[in-house]
Subunit: 139 residues, 2 copies
């Protein structure tokens, strides 16, 4: 049975249930950042996916990319580059990060993972970010 690793509950908020993945907003106001977690049991690596699941994941990475761009626009910080990563060194349950980057963000040009400390959203910006993402993901 699929069960979301508790680590995701602590660090992200639900955005949408897509065909394959749970899409969640990473609670780090430094970057527009969506995490996709396929609703599959005991899956750790991309190579564990069937061809069909891989195609669905790729399509949902595309949707999350657009959503991340919309979050950036809604917060007045348009995304200039996307970073997509599947790491899982700490939380093994397969998940893919889709992060919007800008040359003026605090980690540029390094990756965001394991850099510095997450910054809390202020409540109004959080609602704006979630609304923008959900609208994009529903399209």
């Amino acid at each position: 049975m699929f069960r979301l690793d508790p680590a995701f509950l602590a660090t992200s908020d639900v955005l949408a249930s897509l065909a394959l993945c749970e899409a969640r907003l990473q609670l780090d106001a430094r970057f527009p950042w969506i995490v996709l977690i396929p609703r599959l049991e005991s899956v750790v690596e991309l190579e564990d996916l069937t061809e069909e699941q891989g195609a669905m994941l790729l399509s949902e990475i595309g949707a999350a990319s657009e959503a991340v761009r919309r979050i950036g626009a809604a917060l007045g910080r348009p995304v200039e580059k996307l970073n997509v990563g599947q790491l899982g060194n700490i939380t093994r349950q397969l998940h893919v990060h889709v992060v919007g980057r800008r040359p003026d963000d605090p980690c540029w040009p390094r990756p965001v993972w394991g850099q510095g400390v997450a910054e809390a959203y202020d409540p109004e910006a959080l609602e704006r970010a979630k609304a923008a993402a959900r609208l994009a993901l529903a399209a």
Copy 2:
């Protein structure tokens, strides 16, 4: 016309021409690490790929994953986790990193990108790594 960004020539060695991508060994003995560069002009993000190109890339990420595992085995450091990343903050030409990780590697559990300094392979290990990767990529 497709032209490999010179940055790749300086930091990696050719392994194989796959159906979509050039597969290259990253010249950093700290990690078994393959870079895939689609032979496409002016492509920067995953969302720039057609559905068919995306499926090819995913299949080649699978092949590179297996090749990275074979490099790790050939060097006596079996891969315990794969890290796959598409960043491009510095070199914009679309490329995907497939990196084999171990809890005893010098960056664990952080990502490898932008961490520390690449370590040169000794010539014998380099040949062994390339041979193992080429055998896997030819399969």
